[in-house]
């Protein structure tokens, strides 16, 4: 299992950079942004977080919030998809290990991957490599 690269990052700095990335005002948080910290204050410093996985999470969020706020069902489905696929990548396609990481059973993970079109995993990765848009290759193949 390959661990993700971990870094220390200031949450405030991340918020600032995210605003800059989408061209939002830097000096104030929007209403939507407030939703992240209400009810559960974000720590001032996030240490040793999985930067690559988080970038994947953020990129998946672009599709979720295209055309405005999504329905809860779509958002949850996308969140689970990104987490499941990321875990499968990190566990090199080992269903048992991935299910343990995700806190679910092998069976439910397999059913989820089938519903996402990601099972069997090896065939799925091979099909991704052959697609034109899949410019990124799996880490193992790249090495």
């Amino acid at each position: 299992m390959s661990a993700g690269e971990t870094r220390e990052t200031s949450v405030a700095a991340v918020a600032l950079m995210l605003r800059a990335a989408v061209g939002a005002r830097l000096d104030r948080a929007g209403v939507g942004e407030l939703a992240a910290s209400l009810g559960r204050a974000l720590p001032p410093m996030t240490d040793a977080f999985d930067s690559a996985g988080w970038i994947g999470w953020c990129l998946a969020g672009l599709a979720v919030f295209e055309h405005g706020p999504p329905t809860s069902r779509i958002a949850v489905r996308e969140a689970i998809r990104i987490v499941a696929v990321l875990t499968m990548l990190r566990t090199a396609g080992n269903l048992t290990h991935a299910a343990r990481q995700l806190g679910t059973s092998r069976r439910s993970l397999r059913e989820r991957l089938v519903s996402l079109g990601c099972y069997p995993w090896s065939e799925f990765l091979a099909s991704c490599e052959s697609r034109p848009h899949a410019a990124w290759r799996p880490p193992a193949a790249r090495e």
């Binding site: 991340v14 999985d50 999470w57 998946a60 969020g61 809860s72 689970i80 998809r81 079109g117 899949a134």
Partner: protein, 231 residues
């Protein structure tokens, strides 16, 4: 805090051509976006999902937005999407459509920004990023991104990706809490409206709010120092 102050309803999220007369560009000095009236808005056909205002929601007397797309000669937002160059499309990222800030962004640029921010090679995709692109192609341009909500999504993901990989339950809980809070903020604290906005039941929203210690909403807003819940 007024980027989506009035746009609490999905119906206000008109995409593309209907540039409301009251739209104000988010006026930060950090981006060289177009000024209202310069005709830099992009116009894609209004889709059903973009949502016209619901008939049962009358406009307020002060609401001067144009009801239908009436392209004027000076508005190049009447031009088809294909005619606009990529930089021009990206310029419209700074446009605030409706009352919620919707922007067009390029995922590759966003990914580069995120990598730079984290001290990674901006041109070299990190292995974990692959998870976002597998099983779902990421478009060249994401049109009409709800910027504030996306930033909240990203920030909510920070604790999620700290330490071990997140579990399915943690991801589900984070997203449900985020959306319930977002819906309540956009709905000015009205739970029925929030439930319509994110298309879930009132009961579920209330459950998420209780779990997050955000119910009753007004008390929670006072507790968290958000004095004006209507923002």
């Amino acid at each position: 805090m007024d980027d989506d102050s009035a746009g609490h309803d999905r119906g206000c999220l008109t995409r593309g051509g209907d540039r409301p007369a009251h739209v104000t560009r988010e006026g930060g000095s950090n981006h060289p976006g177009p000024k209202v009236g310069e005709g830099r808005t992009r116009s894609a056909p209004v889709t059903a999902k973009g949502g016209a205002r619901r008939p049962e929601e009358p406009r307020s007397p002060g609401d001067s937005r144009r009801p239908q797309a009436t392209p004027t000669p000076e508005d190049d937002h009447a031009r088809p999407q294909a005619e606009l160059t990529l930089p021009r499309q990206l310029e419209s990222a700074h446009e605030q459509r409706g009352s919620v800030a919707l922007r067009d962004v390029a995922p590759d640029d966003i990914a580069g920004c995120l990598r730079s921010m984290l001290g990674l090679d901006p041109d070299q995709p990190a292995p974990g990023e692959l998870a976002a692109r597998l099983s779902r192609p990421v478009p060249l341009i994401v049109a009409g991104l709800d910027a504030g909500a996306w930033i909240a999504w990203c920030l909510a993901g920070l604790p999620l990706f700290t330490g071990r990989l997140p579990t399915t339950a943690a991801a589900r809980g984070t997203v449900n809490r985020l959306l319930a809070t977002l819906g309540m903020l956009r709905a000015k604290g009205r739970i029925s409206r929030a439930s319509r906005l994110i298309r879930t039941s009132r009961k579920m929203i209330r459950a998420y709010l209780v779990t997050s210690n955000l119910y009753p909403w007004e008390d929670a807003m006072q507790r968290w120092g958000v004095d004006d819940v209507s923002r």
